[in-house]
């Protein structure tokens, strides 16, 4: 790894700048925020669920090992598990967009900052590597038998490979061109797969020798590639991406305000607003219709519909199918209630020459149409699996949706504004 050397660095713009202190502040803020969200995760018994899953899966793991022949080609499982663990090497930098402007003059002095980021990311990934090897261990011992290498040899070897990948990934962020970055990443993945194959099919020595050769080859290739001192744009994009992913995970448990709404074009359905008349009174239907069709709300609707359809198709008792048929639109309606909250901070809605009292009804009508479409979709598996008595379900669902949207949502949306 080549980082700026404080001894050869020219005098930076800020004489008192302490890169390590900056990392400490950033990391403390990051940890505090993450811990806050993790509390919500804990409150929802997410960790209990994880522990339960771990116990159940280890039980089945042990049971299936008993039946597994010892000549089973376990190596493909080992490679499929360990190659991503080794090659995927994201680096948290905790950079913020403003850094590109404010830290630029101190570029020469940021070495300790990025080193701290690498140590943090490396520690986490070393932990994951260890866990992966621990998980693999029973299978490995079972299949390799007396030829199995000791844990104390394999773990250090894997950790060295992990460190090499991480340093490679760091240098990758400095490469000037996307094509070079992608090429380097692909090389690391292939090298990881090759080294792991050698490790499990040949010997640790062969794997180490190959890894050394791969590293030398990579160094030779990367020397010629155009590199920046700090790949600001790429680092910031990656940092934003990783933080967004973390927020997306936390959003399972609690509303995460920082999470930007994900907009999907959905060409196959979003053109449906063309059916609206080109008139002033179609305004709210147009805006909120497009909003439903392009945001995560439609994704939720589709997933719930699929889940409901599976339940209606697979459940064995008539009553259970009936219940699934009726409960699915109800859950969907609760989710779709959020549509009314969209655009609440847009001042444009206040400046249009429109009768604002038309909005609650228009939004409620969109929710109703969505529920109608869902009921129609659920009717297909119902007709396929059930007899004549179940045919009561669609009309009941339609009546309930109409009542819910026409009365309850209209009133609620009017109160919410």
């Amino acid at each position: 790894m080549k980082m700026s050397d404080p001894h050869t660095a020219p005098p930076a713009a800020q004489p008192g700048f302490d890169a390590r202190a900056l990392w400490r502040t950033r990391f403390a803020a990051y940890r505090q925020e993450a811990l806050g969200y993790l509390q919500y995760a804990a409150r929802s018994n997410f960790f209990l669920l994880l522990a339960f899953l771990a116990i159940v899966s280890s039980y089945y793991y042990a049971k299936s090992l008993q039946r597994l022949p010892t000549n089973y080609p376990y190596w493909w499982i080992a490679v499929a598990l360990l190659a991503p663990v080794l090659a995927h090497s994201p680096i948290r930098t905790l950079l913020r967009p403003a850094d590109r402007a404010f830290l630029l003059p101190a570029s020469q002095r940021l070495g300790p900052y990025f080193r701290s980021g690498l140590i943090y990311s490396g520690t986490l990934q070393a932990l994951v590597t260890t866990l992966a090897l621990v998980a693999l261990w029973p299978l490995y011992r079972h299949c390799a038998g007396p030829a199995a290498q000791p844990f104390g040899l394999l773990l250090p070897l894997l950790l060295v490979l992990k460190a090499a990948n991480l340093l490679g990934a760091w240098h990758e962020t400095r490469l000037a061109y996307q094509r070079a970055r992608a090429g380097s990443a692909l090389y690391r993945w292939l090298a990881a797969v090759a080294a792991l194959l050698l490790l499990f099919l040949s010997s640790p020595l062969a794997a180490s020798a190959a890894a050394l050769l791969f590293t030398l080859g990579w160094l030779a290739a990367v020397r010629r590639a155009a590199a920046l001192q700090i790949g600001w744009d790429h680092l910031l994009a990656r940092e934003r991406q990783q933080q967004a992913r973390l927020y997306a995970f936390f959003s399972w448990f609690v509303d995460v305000p920082q999470l930007p709404a994900r907009i999907v074009r959905r060409r196959w359905i979003s053109g449906i607003t063309r059916l609206l008349p080109f008139r002033q009174d179609a305004f709210y239907a147009y805006l909120y219709g497009k909003t439903l069709l392009r945001t995560e709300l439609l994704g939720i609707c589709l997933r719930l519909t699929l889940l409901g359809a599976l339940a209606v198709a697979a459940l064995s008792s008539e009553a259970a199918r009936f219940a699934a048929f009726l409960i699915t639109p109800l859950i969907t309606a609760v989710q779709l209630g959020a549509l009314n909250q969209a655009h609440r901070y847009t001042f444009w809605l206040q400046t249009y020459p429109l009768d604002r009292s038309a909005k609650p009804g228009a939004v409620a009508r969109i929710v109703w149409l969505a529920l109608l479409a869902q009921t129609a979709a659920l009717t297909v598996p119902l007709l396929l699996t059930s007899g004549a008595p179940a045919l009561w379900a669609p009309p009941v669902s339609l009546a309930a949706s109409a009542l819910l949207c026409g009365v309850h949502f209209r009133r609620k949306f009017r109160q919410d504004g």
Binding site: F278, Y286, L287, T346, D355
Partner: protein
Amino acid sequence: MNPILQVDALSGGYLPGKPVLRDLHFTVGQGEMLGLIGLNGAGKSTTIKHILGLLTPQKGAIRINGHTLDEKPLAYRSACAYVPESPELYDELTIGEHLELTALAYGLPKDVYQSRAGALLRQFQMEDKLNSFAAHLSKGMKQKVMIMNAFLLEPALYIIDEPFLGLDPLAIRSLLELMVQMKRRGASFLICSHILSTIEKYCDRYLVLHQGVAVASGTLDDMRRQANAPGATLDDLFYKLVAGDAP
């Protein structure tokens, strides 16, 4: 002749008892372009927010075509279009859909919308961005979308807040041409800008705001007389009028 926009004794701001604007009087007549100029924080944007009805006057009244917002809300709002200083677009809509939505909101007939939108998209070289989402546009392109939305409506009154920042030279030229064209057809303009050399060539009258108070107003010649500076440019006049007690 009745003015299109009439601001009478306007006092207002964000907190009761702490007005940002104090006793503001001005009018914008039909086919007239008024330049609202002042330092950052002078109260220009606050004035615009009051006109748009996003803030309520603490004292005084604002009339568009002779009516306040409370008297005839729909007529009041239909009569003006606004180009904000920082573009605000819907994440969920493409550029073409923004234009369509605006046309719906103001009740434009479909054929009128189509011909106007086509012309504007050509003029601002945005035809290939019709299906792009706002998140994928630069600041200048977003600003173009705001401008197209306003000019699509051809309203009686345009309220334009610092329109030139971020626009490329061709777009600035297109915007100025459009302004002249609409003005000739009788539209009125209220324009805030710091680019004094540009608006000097286009505005009929000016209002200089300083710390929430109008310190000078009138044509360029009026202001030259007020500042006792014959032949001065708008830039010189502005400096003379407000630099004396700049913060």
